[in-house]
């Protein structure tokens, strides 16, 4: 086993062992699915926009992936406070490998979470295009990697746990709400439209929605390119920040 593998494995093992985390992190997506689905579904459909669950289900999967992935950052702060990070930093392994291993681990864990939510959306009446499921899971993995790396980049700059909820409220929540996860972009006002169009997550949402529902706001090509470029850039940023971290 090499360093990359063992870092990845540690994260997956720890995730699978913490049942409370798996169940706890399903609460929020479930709440959104039920409240928005039941609350807005009828109005949305009455307004002639088609099936709301078809629009909402991919958005909620992404929500679950994004929130689980960003947790990778919290784990780094935790590891630093409890000393384990030193064991990793003093080892003959490059900082980039450590950061990349954690990114892959975070992406894997968040995809597992996303797939669980996908199964739930099936139970509440979501009918996906089955041929798109595997590509969509790959898409969710890339979104997971993007936000794991983002979490690592932020965590490398934060000194304690207390500042992480602030990041959640002022960075992650706006990114999620301005990604078109919960409402269609074609009817949104211009300001909102501009804000969503500069948000890379919007293209991730569109990609998953297109793969599972068949309708793209942009296109498969544009969505994939924006998502991949954004992920690569954030991984580089995360690696750079992590390089500066002190145990």
């Amino acid at each position: 086993m090499n360093a990359l593998q063992v870092l990845w494995r540690r994260q997956v093992i720890k995730y699978l062992r913490s049942r409370s985390r798996i169940i706890g992190s399903l609460g929020q997506p479930l709440l959104f699915l039920l409240v928005f689905g039941l609350g807005f579904g009828k109005i949305f459909e009455a307004a002639g926009q088609g099936s709301y669950i078809k629009l909402l289900a991919p958005g909620i999967m992404i929500m679950s992936v994004v929130f689980t992935a960003i947790f990778t950052g919290i784990e780094i702060i935790w590891d630093r406070q409890f000393g384990f990070l030193k064991e990793t930093l003093v080892a003959p392994v490059s900082r980039f490998s450590i950061m990349f291993g954690k990114t892959l681990g975070g992406a894997t864990v968040s995809v597992i979470q996303g797939v669980i939510v996908f199964i739930i959306t099936l139970l509440v009446g979501f009918h996906p295009i089955w041929a798109g499921v595997v590509p969509a899971i790959i898409g969710l993995f890339i979104i997971g990697a993007l936000f794991s790396a983002f979490g690592i980049a932020l965590a490398s700059k934060l000194k304690d746990m207390q500042s992480f909820p602030i990041v959640m409220n002022f960075v992650v929540m706006p990114l999620f709400f301005l990604s078109g996860s919960l409402f269609p972009l074609n009817t949104a006002p211009t300001v909102l439209k501009i804000l969503t169009e500069i948000n890379p997550l919007t293209y991730g949402v569109d990609l998953i929605r297109g793969l599972l529902g068949g309708v793209y706001q942009f296109s498969l090509g544009l969505d994939s390119i924006v998502l991949l470029v954004a992920t690569a850039l954030v991984i580089l940023w995360g690696a750079y920040s992590f390089k500066k971290i002190e145990a």
Binding site: M1, N2, Q81, G83, E87, V90, A247
Partner: protein, 264 residues
């Protein structure tokens, strides 16, 4: 004698504070050396520079003949037990060691035998499948020592290794370390606040204060030069008896908080 640890004009400044002030020292192969000094004297900062966790402001360090710029070679050369625990509580003892083996590029085949060997050495083989969170402080320390020796380092750094250990565990720990020094020529640098520990274990002693080495030599030489009967008296004579101001770190604050709320 081959020099295993060297520092030349080693200096570390944090903003206006000079934590380590142009110190020079060396530790020959197979020697157990002690770093003594009041809180904030610069002991841990020096160890952090020697172990590549901190870049010196100026000066040179060498471990096992490698300069601090040869990061990977230097990191393969030493093992370290940190002042604070650095195990993953949510993994088993064995998993912690497997993790270490992978980080140090020990093959799966070799790792198996090595894990057995080090666990036997610290009498933890029967607890290998247990989660570290079920371990007492002394057992965690023993596991950390075992882990630090897994990649057969030439040099071992111990930063206050015996804090919170009972005399039995402390004795046992020094037994392993001394045995490894004799059988494998292991070189050891440790810091401690227990003077009797330094008297018992150390071949040479460095007393550090305000970032400078204020005395060095064998315990007897230091006692003789200060005209005192015990190392503790010598230490107080050299560093004064005022209590040093020290602040709780962010990590300390976090830990008390985590204890109050329960971890996960």
């Amino acid at each position: 004698m081959e020099k295993m640890i060297e520092a030349q004009n080693l200096t570390k400044k944090f903003d206006s504070l000079t934590a380590v002030d142009s110190i020079n020292f060396e530790v020959p192969k197979g020697t157990i050396a002690a770093f003594l000094g009041p809180n904030g004297a610069g002991k841990t900062t020096t160890i952090r520079m020697l172990t590549t966790l901190l870049q010196p402001t100026s000066g040179e360090t060498k471990v096992n003949g490698f300069s601090h710029k040869e990061v990977d070679k230097i990191r393969h050369s030493f093992g370290i037990v940190f002042q604070d625990p650095s195990l993953d509580d949510d993994l088993t003892a064995e998993e912690n060691l497997v993790f270490h083996a992978a980080l140090y590029g020990i093959s799966k085949k070799d790792a198996h035998g090595k894990i057995d060997e080090v666990l036997n050495m610290v009498d933890l083989n029967d607890r290998r499948k247990d989660f570290v969170k079920t371990f007492s402080g002394g057992m965690k320390r023993r596991l950390e020592i075992a882990r630090s020796l897994m990649h057969t380092p030439a040099v071992l750094f111990l930063d206050e290794p015996t804090i919170g250990l009972d005399p039995q565990t402390r004795n046992k720990m020094w037994e392993y370390v001394k045995e490894l020094r004799t059988t494998k020529g292991l070189t050891v640098l440790f810091t401690t606040h227990y003077m009797e520990e330094a008297e018992k274990a150390a071949d040479i002693v460095f007393i550090i204060d305000h970032g400078k080495i204020v005395a060095r030599g064998t315990v007897d030489e230091i006692k003789k030069s200060t005209d005192t009967k015990t190392l503790e008296e010598a230490f107080l004579k050299l560093t004064g008896s005022d209590i040093r101001p020290s602040e709780a770190s962010a990590a300390d604050a976090f830990k008390s908080q985590a204890r109050a709320w329960g971890r996960r």
